[in-house]
Each structure stands twice: as C-alpha cells, then as structure tokens.
C-alpha cells in the first residue's frame, strides 16, 4: 500500500483529518473474473479526487461497490468511520452518498422538476397516510420540496429553470447531465460520485462542467469523487488522482506526480510507448 503512495501528500482542504470515505482492501469477484482487486482509497472531506484508468479498469465497478449496487467480495468501505458494506442502495443515499451514471439514467418520462423531486425522496417524510389525507404538514413539505428543487435547478443558471416543466427526454445532452447532478444534489449528500461527468461534451461544455463541479465543492461544501477520461480535466481539477488498471490501484497522488508516473503511462499507452517516452526523456536530459 505504501509503495503506491507518492511521497508528498497535500493538505486536505476543509475539515482536515479523518477520511470521509475509506476503501480498505476492496475486492470484487464475478465468478472467475476479478473486477476490482485489493483497492485502498481514502477521500478526505471537501477533496476532489479523481479515479482514472483505461477502459475496463474497474472504475465504474468501484463506484457500484461504494453505492451498494454490488457487494464487495472482501474488504471494507467506510463512510465517516462507519462501515457501509451490506447496506442497500437506498440506505447508502440516506447515509450521504449520491451518484450520477456514465450513461445518464434519468426518469425519461418525467419532467425536469419531477426528476429533482424524486431525488428528494430521502428528505421527505410523507407516507401512505400522509399522501392520502394531505395534512398541512405534508402540504408544506411538498411546497418546500418544490422550492428546493427550483433552487437546485437554479444552481446551473437559467437554462434548466426555464425548462422545469419539460420532459427530460426532450432536453439536450448537456442539460440532461445537469439535471442528473441536480437530482443527486437533491438528496443532500456529503459525498458526490460523478461517473464521467464530461463524457460526450465538447470543449466549451467541458469547461463549463469543470466550473460547476468546482462550485459544487466550493459553494456547497461537497466532497467529490469522480471518474474521468479526459486527462486535461482531471489534471486541472483534482486534488488527488488514483489510477486503476485491471482492477488494481497502480498509482495515487498529486496530479503532476501521477502524470509522470511510468506505470500510469504504460497502462494508458502500452509498453512500447513507455520505452519511447523513456527515450524522449533521456534525450531531453542530454
């Protein structure tokens, strides 16, 4: 474990000290296939940590393990010191973890506002009797929920606000990503998992996405764990980067260090490229 750590570790931003999320020796086996092997990861409060790695490295599987869509074969996952292994996905949300998906899973035949309202499910208390009789408490709760949904949409500017009654299936791709994030925010999470939030976006949209992801940490105080393929994005935005390859963590540390790490380059570009790289570096030094 210590062999993978880079020597200089940054001060964690915000509430320092305890890790908010801690994976220890997490392994996931699907029959004979080992998707994730003995991964350790710590995410401190208010950090932006990226997980990168080639396709098939087990990044989304790691996310699914954290959000309890899969159960780890071995190892432990702790949130704020308490183990979350064995909980159901909805319990994970109540504990304070929310996520978005790689290929946007919105409720297609509901409006933007309704999607965000569903996101608030854990924050509302109305049960079956409350729904039937609608006492004043429930009515206020619903009204407050609507207001909050509008505020959340407002985080992204006026684009979503103008379209709050639109069915999400009619929205543009970038807007749908934002709605998905708004829905995740609705659950008042401590930790936000973003699975390839800039996938499919062009440069302008990517820049905008980076800006609002930073604002999620700066303004809302969220801790963010992201999976990202665009190295420029990860380098520019993350406090720390962890690199997975074939299910193992092969490097972790500050962006500049990870970028130069040989194992990382080999993983992404393959062995011959690594040797080209070595040759280039030697040439520079001459």
């Amino acid at each position: 474990m210590s062999a993978n750590r880079v020597k200089d570790e940054p001060e964690s931003v915000g509430v320092a000290g305890e890790a908010l999320l801690e994976l220890s020796g997490v392994t996931k086996r699907f029959g004979g296939l080992v998707a994730v092997q003995d991964v350790d990861l710590q995410v401190k409060s208010k950090e932006i940590v990226s997980i990168i790695g080639p396709n098939g490295a087990g990044k989304t599987t790691a996310f699914n393990l954290i959000t309890a869509l899969y159960r780890p074969t071995s190892g432990d996952i702790r949130l704020a010191g308490k183990s979350i292994v064995g909980l159901s996905p909805d319990q994970i949300v109540t504990r304070g973890i929310a996520r978005t998906f790689q290929n946007i899973r919105l409720f297609n035949n509901m409006t933007v506002l309704e999607n965000v309202l569903v996101g608030q499910h854990t924050q509302l208390k109305a049960g079956i009797l409350g729904s039937l009789f609608r006492p004043p408490a429930v009515r206020h709760e619903e009204e407050a929920a609507r207001q909050r949904a509008i505020e959340l949409l407002g985080f992204f500017g006026t684009a979503l606000l103008e379209r709050q009654e639109e069915y999400v299936i009619n929205l543009s791709y970038a807007d749908r990503r934002r709605v998905e994030i708004a829905r995740a925010l609705a659950a008042k999470p401590l930790l936000l998992l973003l699975d390839e939030p800039t996938a499919g976006m062009n440069e302008a949209e990517t820049l905008e996405a980076v800006k609002y992801i930073r604002r999620l940490r700066d303004e809302l105080g969220l801790t963010i764990l992201l999976i990202e393929h665009k190295l420029a994005v990860t380098m520019g935005m993350s406090d720390r980067i962890a690199v997975l390859d074939y299910g193992r963590k092969i490097a972790e540390g500050l962006p500049e260090d990870v970028r130069r790490d040989e194992r990382v380059i080999a993983a992404y570009l393959g062995r011959p490229a690594r040797e080209d790289q070595k040759a280039a570096i030697e040439q520079q030094e001459e």
Partner: protein
C-alpha cells in the same frame, strides 16, 4: 340596466357576432335534437305536471324523489350548456372554421342522441355511435395529413391586458345571452305549435304558465351564466397586469408565467397552451372540462331519477347493471396502481378480489354461525358491513403484500407468471376449502348493508347504485392523491428505471410492496360490495379470465392514467355485458330495425347470438386498439410520449433552427439530441 343593455346585449361587434352565431348554432342544434326529437321536452313537461298537478293521471306517475331529482338534473343540464356557450365564445380565438365545428358537433352529439332514441338503450346507442365516430375520425385524420403541411405556428402565447380581458368577459356574456334568447324563442315557437294542435289537453294551463316563464327567464339566465363563464375563462388566460408573479405558485406554473412557457419545446408548449384561453379548440380546454365534469357528476347522481323519464320502464334492471360497472372501475383503478404506476405486471389480480368478497361473506352471513357458533341477527349484523368493508380491504392488502413479496426480485415476464400462478391458486383454494367457503356452491344469504331508513335487498338496486357511486368517488379521490404524492412519484420512478430509483434513495422492496398492498386494498373494497350486492359468493365467480379482463381494462384505457382507466373499465364492461346483451334484445324483437339482419345471421349460423360471439368481438377490438392506439383511449401524457415519441407530429423543428451554429446557445435549444 340601460347601460348594460347598450354595452353588452345589443348585437355585438362583427367578429364577436360571428363567434356568437358559430357557437349558438353549434350548441343549440344538439340541444334542440335532445329536447324536441328525443324525450327532453316530454320529460320536462312531465316534471312540471307532476310537480304541480299531482292528481292527474300523468302527474301521479312519478314520485317526489324522481321529480325533484330530475328537476335538478335538467336545470343543471340546460344551465351548463348555456354557460358553455358563453365560455366557448369567450375562449375561441376565431381561427377555426365554423363549418368543421358544426359537422363535428352533429357527428359527436346529434348522432348518438338520435341513435339512443331509436334503440332506446343508452349503451347500445353509444356503441352504434362509436361505429360512426371511428370512420369519421379516420377520415378527418386522413384529410389533415393529405393537406400540405402548414408550418403550424406556435400557439399565440401573448398575455392579455386588462382591456382584452374585459372584452373576453363581454364576449362570454354575449354568448350566454344570445344562446338563452334563441333557445327560448325557438322553444316558444315549437310549444305554440304543439299547443294549438291540442296536444296538451287538460294540463295545458300549467304548461302555458311554464312556457311564458321560460321565455322570460332563459335570456336572463343566459346573461348571468355568460358572465360566470367569462370569469372562468379569465382564470385560464395569461394575464399581463404589470405585476410580477407574487406567490411562488405563480412563479412555477408555466401557464401563468409567460417566460417559462416560451422555454418549453414545441410539443410541450402546445400541450400547455391547450389549456389557455383564447384557444383554437375551446371545447378541449381545461375550463370546458370543468363544465363536462359537473354535468357528468349531476348525470350520475340524478340518473336513477331521470332514467324512467328518458327511457321508460325497466329502470330497476338497468340501474342494477350500471351499478355493477362501478365495481369494474374500482378494480381497474386498483390494478392501475400496480401495473400502471409501478410497472409491475400483475396477472393474478382476481385473487385479492376473492379475499375481499369472502371476508364479508364469512362474517356477514349464516356461515358465521356455522363456523363460530355465534348467532347473528341479520338486522343488527348488517350494520357491520361498513367497518367490514375496511377490514376486507385491509385483509386484501395484507395478502397483496404477502403474494407480492416473492415477486420482488423478478422482472417483467417472470413476475407476471408468478402472479398468474397466485391468481389461479387462490380461487382453487377457495373452492377446495368447502368447510369454510361452501366450495363450488358457495355461500348464500349474505347480508346486505344497512342504512337509516333504506331498504336494501336484491330487488332494490337504487341504494346499491348510490353506494357504488360513493365507493367509486372515494377510490378515485384516493388514487389521485396517491398519484400526486411522494409515493406516487416513487412508483413511477421505479417503473422508469429501477436502478436510478434505488440510487435516488427509494427503497425498492418497501415501495413495491406498497404498490401491491394499495392495489389489493381497492379490490378488497370491490369484493365486499360484490358479496353484499349479489348475496352469494361462489368460487366459480372468479378465475384467471377475470384477471385478464381487469388487465385489459387498464391497458385499453391507458396505463397509469386515471381518467383513462375509468373509461377503459366502463368500455370493457359495456362491451362485455351491456352492448352485446342489448343487441340480442333488440335483434330478437321482431319490431326493431335490427331484426331482419339478425334473423338472417341466425339462419346462416345456428346458435348465433351476440352473447356467444362476445369473446370474438372483444378480442378484435383489443387487437385493433393495440395496433392503432397502443397508448390507450385516454393516455397519460407520459405514455403518449413514450409510445409516439418517434412520430412526426412531435418532432417539428422550426425552419430557422438549423441556421444556428453548433455550439451556440440557440443550437442547443433547437436541436434535440437523442
């Protein structure tokens, strides 16, 4: 009064005049057909005579409740139509061609009235009308498509200032007043003809008074009703009063906030604009819908009292049948929760109905004595029906949870098969536990409910009819509340995407079990009612075929859409029980127009009767609907979007859209990325 007269009652400005003419003719023609061609006039005369001259032969035919109930209905009926005339004149944007409207009115209202009067049966008349409506509808659609595609302008979404709002109300008043006046004059003419041809006989005195009163009152009523409907129309307009939206509700409701409305896509804003006034199709807007709902409510409430006046003898039989339709509505609404909202395909819904029926059957009948030795006095025990409805519903809900639990991890087809299994098992268990359930012969002598001063037994269907109305109203209310709540949203979320729902904090197990439980709860209510009304419960009453029937009601009406499911249930019931039996009745009557054809068919196919080919017809109708309108008769907006999203009408891109450069804000807005 003079100023009022000059302002609103004199022939209005030209375009208003055209609108008034358009709508007065459109609404007056069906009303006149109803009143004079069919039984409307005769019914009203009978009411008048009955109310005031109770001794005459005509007057004593009907009792007080019938007369008063019928009076209420007719007052509401004519009043609402007058108000609707006012509303339509106010709400019409003037673009639609009057001729098209008149033809549509004739097809959709005059044809059924005439057909009902010919066959003297409500449902057979309506089903014959459907045979006319469907080809008409298809012709219209074909004609619309064959015309060159006019770039349909987005509906005019400009707010009205206070001057325009005032003229809206004036138009409504004009519409109502002229409608009332014209109708009064025309009825006066017809009645004078009747009078002078001596048809009124000894009752003519009272009727003459009535005619005079009516001629004076109708235009007056038209004025006030017009003003009322003008106010209603105002509530559905985009107002530009210069004030910012104050309450948060206005900020959210896109119909009241113009800026939000412009942000919607073309198809969506068309949907929203349909509810706004002015409008190209005012009869479709939500304001007009209020009129229909009140009229429907009055009709249902007063039906037992107007039936003898409109249809003649045989009310009791009809009431009993129509009351039964309500049971199907409740069952369909319950199944709608499971299948429509939560998306859990339940093929064994009849099982919960069985639980509900046997719960009351075991407690409220001599069987209780057999089982527990408790001797029950029918008069006192009957009161137990009311709490037992709740108990039956709760027991059914409990079984809903128990039978739903094993299905939780299954998807789609597998869930359907397990529920199908339960749907088969439960009736068979009921049949085999004959010590408790009376086996195949079932239990009889089940007590009817008790209520103050009301006689309930098999030969008095009226109390059961009202009980059913009450239960349906309760169930509808519960369903609407559930749909618009946190629970309803979680059901729909599960239907849309289970994983995303779980990742948003929805507990899948709990929510699905709630869906099963809530659905079963309503079938328990229907079961208890069924047991009490029929007074016998036998396991042969229940089978898998029933489960399929209930499912077909939900799918036919529109999955997940509450009005759709109600209509679907009534349609399926009408086809299966009423229409075909009615056709048989009419066909075997030698005097009817159907008889020759009917006799021919019987000669060709021995044993032919409409009842026998019921399943064939039902199957054909289902297949046709699934091909041409899979979203159901009245789909929820979501469902129509799901099934027709690829259709051209949804994806109209305005011409200038592709000029926007990719990457700019306008480009995103116009081109939908799928």
């Amino acid at each position: 009064m003079a100023t009022l007269m000059s302002g609103t009652l004199l022939p209005p400005a030209r375009e208003t005049r055209l609108l008034v003419i358009k709508w007065v003719i459109a609404l007056l023609v069906p009303l006149l057909v109803f009143t004079f061609v069919w039984n409307g006039e005769a019914a009203i005369n009978q009411i008048i005579v009955g109310l005031f001259i109770h001794n005459s032969t005509l007057g004593s035919r009907y009792d007080w409740t019938t007369l008063i109930g019928a009076t209420i209905f007719f007052v509401l009926f004519y009043g609402l139509l007058t108000a609707l005339a006012g509303y339509a004149v106010a709400a019409d944007s003037g673009r639609q061609n009057p001729i098209m409207l008149w033809i549509s009115m004739v097809v959709f209202t005059v044809v059924p009235i005439v057909l009902i009067s010919i066959v003297n049966d409500l449902f057979v008349g309506i089903s014959f009308s459907v045979l006319v409506w469907v080809p008409y509808f298809l012709i219209l659609r074909f004609w619309h498509r064959s015309r060159p595609a006019v770039a349909s302008a987005l509906p005019r979404l400009t707010p009205l200032n206070s001057e325009e709002q005032a003229s809206l109300v004036r138009r409504a008043i004009a519409g109502g007043f002229w409608f009332g006046l014209t109708f009064a004059v025309l009825s006066l003419v017809v009645d004078l003809i009747y009078f002078f041809s001596g048809q009124y006989g000894t009752d003519s005195g009272i009727l003459l008074i009535w005619i005079v009163l009516r001629t004076v009152l109708l235009p007056l009523a038209g004025y006030f009703l017009g003003r009322l409907s003008g106010g209603l129309a105002l509530r559905h307009t985009l107002k530009a009063n210069g004030k910012k939206a104050q309450s948060s509700k206005e900020a959210i409701d896109p119909r009241l906030n113009p800026s939000l409305l412009t942000g919607l896509s073309a198809s969506r804003s068309r949907e929203e604009a349909r509810d706004l006034v002015p409008n190209d199709a005012p009869l479709n807007s939500s304001g007009a819908r209020n009129f229909y709902l009140v009229l429907l409510f009055a009709f249902l409430l007063c039906y037992p009292m107007i039936d003898p006046l409109l249809f003649g003898p045989g009310t009791e039989g009809r009431l009993s049948l129509y009351g039964d339709a309500g049971r199907y509505v409740i069952l369909a609404l319950g199944l709608n929760i499971v299948v429509g909202f939560a998306g859990l395909l339940d093929l064994g819904y009849v099982a919960f109905f069985v639980f509900g029926a046997y719960t009351w059957a075991l407690v409220g009948s001599p069987q209780l004595t057999v089982l527990t030795g408790l001797v029950s006095d029918p008069h006192i025990w009957s009161w137990l029906f009311w709490p037992m409805v709740l108990v039956a519903a709760l027991i059914a809900a409990l079984w809903g949870v128990l039978l739903g639990a094993p299905t939780l991890r299954l998807r789609g087809d597998y869930l359907a098969i397990v529920t199908l299994g339960f749907g088969e098992i439960i009736p068979i268990i009921a049949q085999n536990m004959d010590k408790y359930t009376g086996g195949t012969n079932g239990l009889s002598g089940i007590y009817s409910p008790a209520f103050f001063g009301v006689q309930w037994n098999v030969s008095t269907p009226m109390p059961y009819y009202y009980l059913m109305l009450f239960l349906v109203a309760l169930v509808l209310f519960a369903n609407v509340r559930l749909r618009d709540s946190r629970l309803g949203r979680s059901w729909i979320a599960i239907r849309e995407d289970e994983i995303a729902a779980a990742s948003s904090g929805i507990n899948l197990v709990k929510t699905k079990l709630f869906a099963f439980g809530a659905g079963a709860f309503f079938s328990g209510i229907a079961g208890a009612y069924f047991a009490a009304k029929l007074s016998t419960v036998a396991s042969s009453n229940f089978s898998f075929t029933d489960s399929v029937l209930y499912l077909s009601m939900v799918v036919l009406g529109g999955l997940g859409s509450i009005p759709g499911v109600v209509v679907g249930a009534l349609a399926v019931y009408a086809i299966n029980v009423l229409v075909l039996a009615g056709l048989d009745n009419i066909g075997s009557d030698p005097a009817s127009f159907l008889h020759p054809g009917y006799a021919q068919l019987q000669a060709l196919f021995p044993n032919f009767s409409f009842g026998n080919i019921r399943n064939l017809i039902f199957g054909i109708i289902l297949i046709l609907i699934m091909i041409y309108r899979p979203e159901g008769l009245i789909p929820s907006a979501r469902r129509r979007r799901e099934l027709h999203h690829q259709a051209k009408e949804d994806e109209e891109v305005e011409v200038g859209a592709l000029d926007a450069t990719p990457g700019s804000a306008e480009f995103e807005k116009e081109v939908r990325v799928e």
